[in-house]
Assembly symmetry: C2
DNA sequence: CTGTTAGCGCGTTCAT
DNA sequence: ATGAACGCGCTAACAG
């Protein structure tokens, strides 16, 4: 690999000049600039980014920490982050914790020691205080899917309470009064907020929240299956089930279809997230849009703007969920 | 951030000694070793990996290039790669091309200039020659999902021809003789191989391949929908459709269910990949297992073994697909 | 506008 | 077993 030195010799200029044309901060005469450029070209020169980082104490890489890399949720988010950052010529270093506190902290340390210029975090196990402290450090952080008042400027999040409200309101508006609710794990903030929204809608329609028709799942497909299997054993009628994720809704619907039930005629469903797959099954899932890819992009833009001073990056912090009506919910059959 | 120098001062030893206890190559007396260790501890010292890389010309990071980050396919693969590599204390730098040749080459350059110790590539647009040349370079590469004879030792792949054969054989064994085939894009090798396997099974059962019942999709859900919409317009009977991916199978089945058809009674389906989702819909999809996460792990192990000399990493290159029988295919109704 | 020089933090010879 | 000194490839003052 050719170095900056080789280039300088071939071009007949000094080391510094070569560096200048690369970073075009300072003025360089057009003539020497061309000499350098052609020398770089001849040698097939590629700057050693490691050395650049060490000298400039800037790694041009941003760390991304998420709980998992698979699933319909993080994939699109990662895609947008990578695309946005690479367009700005930055790299993405990823790490996965598994919603385990120690691993989340580990991941942060790991990325920081790698000299990341900033961290994009989608963490749920660590507490607010830890993040507030982290925010005071030298490495800028941006939080996806989490709102902390004290550091709200670096939070990119969805109004999950509103989303929960919209989903349940849609069901109630169609005349249902006996609703089951399949929640996500309640240690997660988004699960909590969605439930809050659910309850608000209930109150608005003067429908009582029925604890026995509540099930805490894990956001995954089998969480939904488990929920239905449970709900069918207890002896309470219900005409609709509100699910806190599309994956759970899908798992739940599958159980019903297995039993030969007609959906939505016998039972209505709403999901949450608007992941691609349930658009392609029957019945097409009515759900709430979770613009996770947009949030990924915004987190990347936040970094581009605040860390790399990219003026083109405009960021939006708050996202508003929208109801997406498809075929899985209808009025209750009497 | 404390540096190696700070540690050396606090411990009352030289710079070199600190470096020695970190890399414990050379012998250090137990006494000084402890002094250094405690000094590091007190300062909360974390080595600057950038500096380590520059000095040792080893970045401890491996580049991963895939066509996309989302979808049920790459997520699990990335998860395994990240897990395996991080266990070996290596980082993952990711880049996404979009199956576009120029972007694939760009991605490779990008990762190499970042000083990656090795590259894990899941590329499909560049030709064999390019990869063979790359293989001659200084940066080791390992290919996922691609077999190139000349560099077979660094290929991790699935026998897609066999998978295609198994899927179709399963259908034929149940008595179907009129099969439609929904293929992936034929510029992709795996799509080609699956089709080859399909044809081999056909020949074995003395069934002619019917070009009019062939559709080239894009591996995605709507590719399957498009296929069915097309197949229903042409006036040819068929009792089963073999799909080259689960996503296409799902899209195809959805179209049928919309029309009120009974699956598999009126039409049988086989998929390919064994992604999670179609296990949770009705009917549960019969498919061929594609151990993509295993392949990701093996690629990581390959790097651990050949690049970082990890003796614990044992690697397997070839993977054998298996038929997974569920509910979407049955004998044809007469 | 351009060249000289001193680090960035660490690994690695050489001596001792 | 340990320390001094040099170099990895590049950026960033500081001169000129």
């Amino acid at each position: 690999m050719a170095t900056i030195y080789d280039v300088s010799v071939l071009a007949g200029v000094s080391l510094a000049t070569v560096s200048r044309v690369m970073n075009n901060n300072t003025k360089v005469s057009e003539k020497t600039r061309q000499k350098v450029l052609s020398a770089m070209d001849q040698l097939g020169y590629r700057p050693n980014t490691i050395a650049q980082s060490l000298a400039s104490s800037r790694s041009n890489s941003v760390g991304v920490l998420v709980s998992q890399l698979d699933g319909p949720y993080y994939g699109p988010m990662m895609t947008e982050i990578e695309t946005a950052l690479r367009a700005g010529n930055k790299h993405v270093i990823i790490a996965a914790d598994h919603s385990v506190e120690s691993q989340e902290k580990d991941g942060v340390e790991f990325l920081m020691s790698r000299g990341c210029d900033a961290l994009i975090l989608d963490v749920e196990a660590v507490d607010d205080e830890y993040l507030i402290n982290l925010h005071k450090g030298n490495t800028p952080i941006v939080l996806i899917n989490r709102y902390i008042e004290e550091i709200s400027d670096c939070c990119v999040y969805l109004d999950n309470e509103l989303g929960g409200y919209l989903a349940t309101k849609h069901i109630l508006s169609q005349g249902h009064t006996d609703l089951a609710y399949v929640s996500g794990p309640l240690y997660k903030l988004d699960a909590q907020d969605r439930l809050l929204g659910h309850k608000r809608a209930l109150k608005e329609f003067n429908v009582d929240f029925d604890k026995t028709l509540f099930y805490e799942g894990n956001f995954r497909e089998f969480g939904g299956s488990d929920a239905m299997n449970h709900l069918f054993t207890i002896d309470k009628p219900f005409t609709a089930v509100v699910c806190a994720s599309d994956q759970m809704a899908s798992g739940a619907i599958a159980v019903c279809l297995e039993k030969g039930m007609k959906i939505p005629e016998e039972l209505s469903f709403v999901g949450y997230d608007n992941i691609p797959f349930p658009q392609y099954i029957s019945p097409k899932l009515t759900t709430v849009n979770n613009p996770i890819h947009e949030m990924g992009k915004m987190a990347a833009f936040w970094v581009l703007k605040h860390v790399y001073n990219d003026p083109k990056a405009i960021v939006e912090n708050t996202f508003i969920p929208q109801l997406i009506v498809r075929d899985s919910a209808t009025s209750p059959h009497k």
